[in-house]
Structures are given as structure tokens and as C-alpha cells.
């Protein structure tokens, strides 16, 4: 076995503050195999891949490539050893041609002392590579005009050109159509025959069983099992992925009842994104939106909040039809939105806790000439720091210096302070530690028991099972089912989210 083992990991561990992301993972990758890595969100897949590709340095353990021990300090070093990664978000320079992209960073120079590029040779060689892959493409085209799948092919050509021995593909099919997927699979097959090892990360069971040779299952940072695809089936893999016990910090005792309708959407559609989404949110409940990455749950929330315009469908608030054209109008209907990307769309990082907390409320707390009621904002901020338990040196501390959990509490307080009735929460506890999570759920529960309603998007199974009263499962922009919290299980959700 060690003969055809190209990459071997032994006892890899990695911790982040508050989380053990990987513990003692040992795993061999064989030459010329397609090896799937599966696991739920947070299982440790991406951490493992980042270690293999040199983005993270493991706390302990060794990596061996071709029987030679290596330790990568940066991605460049992994690249030189033949490990390439193709990310879910493609890294294509949009204004460069196909050939220029394939040779980006490795441009061929003309002979002589002038720093000129040998464009002809680059184009010729690019053509050769693409031909070998069995792809026909005009290598002079600007990449911007290419489809997602064509751009992906360029990325593959790029890594082939770098003589990669190991190619990591992170959710390579997430933006491809059925036909394009088949093209990709053909190429993967070819690479395999050339002796290149593919590490294939995907949520889609069907694909894994179609093209992979072996599958490794991770759960909570532990390696559960590596199996030959021939010897297993989809059910067994999924069963191994889950089976996590739901930890006690979910407040299961609270069961919210459905009485008054708060928000109802009917046939909400954005062409090409999601279609015919219909559901009702009742007063006093937490409605979960579950599904895989790319199932367009965030887009539904954005559409309700007025960020994106629906092509079709109606929104009702307390039985009255409304049109929400922008967040300002959503705010007028007392809707609040906690986005999934805290740093990009949640926080003003270099502003104070106070400035971040009161921003949406300012217009309701000013005098006739527009001066902010500074007493109100100071008091409100203090109140929330106390009530929600935000750990900060003071109201005027810069929010960048707070921990993720406390930052998230400030964002939630922002909408509570704005007297929101309906909260849209998008992955509200992503990247925050267990204790903060528990506190966060408590706040959510208090909010709904006081007559509020929450729609929560979450990719964490235990979270959505533990917190939501009802769960709607989406797949590729469509509603696939609704589950009651009593009947919902991880297995049922995964089945709805990934199988037809």
C-alpha cells in the first residue's frame, strides 16, 4: 500500500480558540484515485484541506508526500510539491485571456534580456493542454465571457500545467449544470488515468458514488471511517456523517405555539435563483430554513428584506400584502436581518460598539433638527450590554477588538433595539464558541416568547434541530419539504436536501 501512496497524513491535529477542528486524523491518499471527503459543516473538511494545501500549519502530526516528510508554511510551498486546490469560488483574472490565465504567475519569457512575454508559445502550450483534456476552447478569449464551467476548466488546465500530483476540488459542481458536470467527470477520469490523485469534496452523494473510488467521513474533527465506494451505499455514508448527539445547550423545553400569522410569502420567485417559495411565519416561533450550501436560502431572506427584487410572488405582513423595495422599508415593517458574513455585511469594524448597535434606530431617536438623542443611545447600549451579556470594555470600544460571539450579540442587539418583530437570521452562530451559542439561543427564545418571530437559516444540523420549531428544507432554489420539530431528524433533512 505504501508503494502507491502519494500523500499520507498521520495524526494531524489543529485547534482554533475554543474549537478543536481536527484531532489525530490519519489518512492515506493513493496514486490515481478519486478520494471523497464528506462530513457536515464544521466536521473539519476545509481545515484538513487547508492544512494539505499549506494555508494552515497543523498543531501536530506529519504530512508525507512520496515518502518524503514535508511541512508547508505557505500555499506556495504546497504548490511546488504538487498539491493544488481548486476553490469553490474560482480564481480567474477576468480581463485576461484563457492562455494568460493558464500561465498566470508562470509566464514564459522570450529569450533575451528584455522582460517580454512569449505569447505565441504560451498560447500554443495552452492549446496543447486543453486538447489533452479533450476541451475545445478559443484560448484568445477573455475569461470574463466564459461560463462558470469553462472558467473551471481553465483552473484545471492551470493546475495540470503546474504538474500537480494531487488536486483538491472543493465543491466543484456547485455552479455547474448537469451537462457540464459530465464534462468535468470525463476530465477527472482522464486525470485519474494519468496517475493524478483527486481529493473530491462534495455534499452531493450521487456524484460521489458516480466518480469516487474511496470515501472518508469526518465528524466533529475526527476521522470516522474510510471506505471503498464499492463496499458501501449512500445510506451508510450519511448515517456515518451524522449520529452526533444533540448537546444540552439547546433549550428544548421551550415549545412555541402557532397562533397569529406574522409573515407569509406566496410563490416568491427570482428567476434563475429560487422559485415558488411559500411559507408562513407565526408569532412566537422559530422557523428554520435548512439545505445545503447553494440552496439559495440567503437569497430568500434578502428578497424578503428588500435587498433583492422578486420577479413573482407576494409578501404579507400580519395578513396585509406589502411591497418591500429596500431595507428601509423592511425596517418600517419591523423586520431585522442578521447577515451571515459578519465582517463584510454585519459590522462597521472600526466603529464603536455604540455606533454599531444603534445605527438602524437613530432615525427614531432624534429631535426636530436631527440631533441624536445621545442619552437614549448611551442608555440603550448600556442596557443591551448588560441584558445580552456583551463582553466589552465599554460602550465606545472599537468593535473589531471584541470576540466573534460578542460582535454577533451586538448585531442582534442592533435589531432588538430597533424594536424588530421579525428577525431574519442567516447562520447566526457561525464561527462563535459554544458558550456564546448557548447564550444566543437563550436570547432568541426570549425574543419569540415575547411575541416575536424568527426565520433562521442554518447549515448546522444540531442547531436547526435543536432550535427551530418547524424546518423548511430547500434544495437548489426549491422547497423540498417541511418538517415539524417533533418529527424532524438529521437523516430526514439530509435526504430532503440532497436526494431526489
Amino acid at each position: 500500500m505504501s508503494n502507491n501512496c502519494v500523500l499520507s497524513l498521520s495524526n494531524i491535529s489543529k485547534s482554533f480558540p475554543g474549537v478543536k477542528a481536527l484531532s489525530n486524523v490519519s489518512l492515506d491518499f493513493r496514486k490515481g484515485e478519486v478520494h471523497a471527503i464528506v462530513g457536515e459543516n464544521g466536521a473539519g473538511k476545509s481545515t484538513l484541506m487547508k492544512i494539505v494545501s499549506g494555508v494552515y500549519i497543523p498543531d501536530s502530526g506529519t504530512i508525507t508526500i512520496d515518502n518524503e516528510e514535508v511541512s508547508f508554511k505557505k500555499p506556495r510551498e504546497a504548490l511546488e510539491k504538487g498539491v493544488s486546490i481548486i476553490h469553490q469560488e474560482l480564481n480567474i483574472a477576468k480581463d485576461l485571456t484563457v492562455a494568460e490565465n493558464i500561465y498566470l504567475g508562470e509566464e514564459i519569457r522570450l529569450k533575451g534580456f528584455l522582460p517580454l512575454i512569449d505569447r505565441k508559445r504560451m498560447e500554443q502550450l495552452s492549446e496543447n493542454i486543453l486538447e489533452k483534456m479533450g476541451v475545445k476552447m478559443d484560448i484568445r478569449r477573455v475569461s470574463d465571457e466564459l461560463t462558470a464551467s469553462e472558467q473551471q476548466l481553465i483552473e484545471i488546465a492551470k493546475v495540470i500545467n503546474r504538474n500537480s500530483k494531487i488536486i483538491i476540488m472543493d465543491e466543484p459542481t456547485s455552479s455547474l449544470s448537469e451537462a457540464e458536470i459530465q464534462v468535468l467527470f470525463k476530465i477527472i477520469d482522464q486525470l485519474k488515468r494519468q496517475g493524478i490523485t483527486i481529493i473530491y469534496i462534495s455534499h452531493r452523494m450521487k456524484e460521489i458514488f458516480e466518480i469516487c473510488d474511496r470515501v472518508t467521513i469526518l465528524r466533529d474533527g475526527n476521522l470516522i471511517k474510510t471506505m471503498n465506494i464499492k463496499d458501501t451505499n449512500e445510506k451508510e455514508v450519511v448515517a456515518n456523517m451524522i449520529g452526533r448527539t444533540i448537546t444540552s445547550y439547546y433549550d428544548k423545553t421551550t415549545r412555541h405555539t402557532q397562533k397569529n400569522e406574522m409573515l407569509r410569502v406566496e410563490d416568491l420567485t427570482i428567476d434563475g435563483v429560487f422559485e415558488n417559495i411559500s411559507f408562513t411565519l407565526y408569532e412566537g416561533e422559530i422557523l428554520g430554513l435548512s439545505g445545503l450550501v447553494g440552496s439559495k436560502r440567503t437569497d430568500v431572506l434578502e428578497c424578503i428584506f428588500g435587498v433583492r427584487k422578486p420577479d413573482k410572488g407576494k409578501v404579507f405582513i400580519r395578513g396585509e400584502e406589502v411591497t418591500i423595495r429596500n431595507p428601509r422599508e423592511a425596517h418600517a415593517y419591523k423586520i431585522g436581518f442578521v447577515t451571515e458574513d459578519r465582517r463584510r455585511t454585519g459590522l462597521m469594524l472600526d466603529q464603536s460598539v455604540l455606533a454599531n448597535l444603534v445605527l438602524p434606530s437613530l432615525n427614531h431617536h432624534k429631535n426636530r433638527i436631527g440631533i441624536v438623542d445621545s442619552k437614549w443611545e448611551g442608555q440603550t447600549t448600556k442596557d443591551y450590554i448588560e441584558k445580552i451579556g456583551i463582553k466589552t470594555p465599554g460602550t465606545f470600544s472599537i468593535i473589531r477588538n471584541l470576540s466573534g460571539g460578542n460582535q454577533q450579540k451586538v448585531i442582534l442587539s442592533r435589531w432588538l433595539a430597533a424594536n424588530s418583530d421579525i428577525l431574519l437570521l442567516d447562520e447566526p452562530t457561525r464561527g462563535i464558541d459554544v458558550n456564546s451559542k448557548a447564550e444566543f439561543y437563550k436570547i432568541m427564545n426570549t425574543f419569540v416568547s415575547n411575541g416575536g418571530g424568527i426565520i433562521m437559516v442554518s447549515s448546522e444540523m444540531p442547531e436547526i434541530l435543536g432550535v427551530a420549531d418547524r424546518i423548511i428544507v430547500m434544495r437548489e432554489g426549491k422547497m423540498k419539504g417541511e418538517l415539524d420539530s417533533e418529527n424532524a431528524t438529521e437523516l430526514k433533512i439530509i435526504e430532503l436536501a440532497s436526494f431526489d
Binding site: F337, Q351, P360, N363, I371
Partner: protein
Amino acid sequence: MKQHTKRFSNFVNNNAVLIVLLLLVVFFGFSNKTFLKPNNLINITSQMSINVIIATGITFVIITGGIDISVGSVAAFAGIFSTFVAKLFPGISVVEGLAIQIASALLIGAICGLFNGIMVGYLKVVPMIATLAMMNIARGLAYVVTNGQPVYGLSNNFSWIGAGRIIETERFPLGILPNNAIFTVIIVLLMHLLLTTTVFGRHVYAVGSNEAVAYLSGVNVKKIKVLTYMISSILAALGGVCIASKLNNGQPGSAEGYEMYAIAATVLGGTSLSGGKGSVARAVIGASIIAIINNGMNLLQISSYWQKVITGVIILVAVLFDNLQRERKIKTSVK
């Protein structure tokens, strides 16, 4: 002991520009006898007033993460416009003159600013390009309406705001306080209050800190942008009428390069070009530093060519220092 040094270094970091300002005063005070004389200090205040007004306006735009390089041209155009109007009424009083000046500034400033704001806020033109266009348009119009000739023959009362002084004494028969400086102080105070105490001011910071967050929090981002460009242009126009008043004539080529002084003053004071950070006070400090350096170098009889070089170097050093500090801050916060 360690605590003390830490507190001291924090103080130095947070007030670096202010310390530089004081050091400059001490340096020029010792190296030249005239520098601290009342007459010279009056001179400095008068000289820096216009730059302070323009820098104050541009501060609003820079806090939103934008830039406005049309301020010099807008100033010139508004100045010319005010002299045109004033010429129609030969026998004006001081108050009437002031009314003409303020009305001209408000009108021209509002129009130019609205144009810039709509370009940037609604039509998504890059701020540098939108205001570059306005820079040429306003300057061009100033030349077109005057046919390239200065506007002369204004009433002496027209120069009250730009050249007049109050509190005349025996030692200072011309007066101690330049009206221009008082006017500047009033504007600076009003703008400071606007930026720090009002909802509008908060929204300006929010847009510059993180536009997405501002939008999702219900801030009318486009409107805020339009308003900041209007403030910038109106204050530039006020600066422009002050120049015309000071000269007591209209020069289509006046205020050339003032956008660079104003941006330099703002950045030197510590307002970040990436937005979200800054204040009117910082613009004032920045403008003071520039004025003092220029004045001091004049007194030391350094050639005006070298003065430009030195000013440039000082701006670079200030910005590099600011970058360094920010990097250090981010590093400590990561730890």
C-alpha cells in the same frame, strides 16, 4: 512604570498630529523672531481660513470614502459668480455684499455638488472621475463667463468678509481679528456639530465604514452621498467668495490647486482616505500645520520652490506614519 510608558506612547499615537503642530510652533518660534509676533499670527489665521473652510467640506466626502477634486474650480466659479452679481449693484452695503456672497456660494455650490453627488451616488461614477469632470466644467465656466478677464470695479464693501478685520486698537489700526477667521470659526463649529451630533453625521460615518451595513440598516446611502458632495461644494464655494472678497475682484484662475491643499490638510490631520474615520477638527489641525509650515518657511526665506517639495515630503511622512499605526492596531487586535 511600564504602565506609564504605555500610556505615554498611546497618548503620542493618538495625538501625533497635534504634537507635530506644537513642535512646529516651537521650532519656528525659536528659529525666527517674527513668527510669534501678533501681526504674523494674524497673518497665519487669515491665510489658513480659506483652506480650513474647503478642507472642512471635503472631510465629509472623504469620510464616506469618496474624494472631491473639484473644490478649487468650484471655489473659483462661485467667486466669479459673486463678483458678477455684485457688479450689478454698484452701491452695496456690507450686509448686502455679504448677502450676495452667501447666496452665490449656496447657489453655485448646491448645483455643482448636486451634480457630483448624483454622478457618484446614483450613477455610480468613480468619485475621482466624476469630480475630475466637474473640476474642468466649473473652471471652464469661470473662464467662459469672464471671457478669461478678471472682474474689477467692485465696491469696497464687497471686501468686508475677505479682507476686513474687527477690534481696531491703537497698535492695530486695521483691527485684530480677521472677519474671515471669525466666519471660518462659525462654519467649522456648525459643521463639527453637524458631523458629530446629528443622525446625518452618523450616517456619513456609517456609509464610509461599511456601505453594506449602512444600507442594510436602513440608511439612504445614495442620499447621504449626494448631501456630502453638496456640503463639500457649498463650503468650497464659500471659500471661493472669500477669495474674491479678499482680492476685491474676480479671478477665473484663482484657487488653482486648492483641492490638493484641502485634501492634504484633511489627510495630514488623520482623516482616512479609506473612509469611516476623521473629523472636522482633524482637518483644521492639518490645515494649520500646512499654513504654519508655509509661513515659517517664508520667514526663514526658503524659496517657494523648495517649500512645495518640503510640504510634499511632510504629507508623505504623515500618511506613512498613519498607515504604520493602523497596521499595528490591526495586529494587536488579531492577537
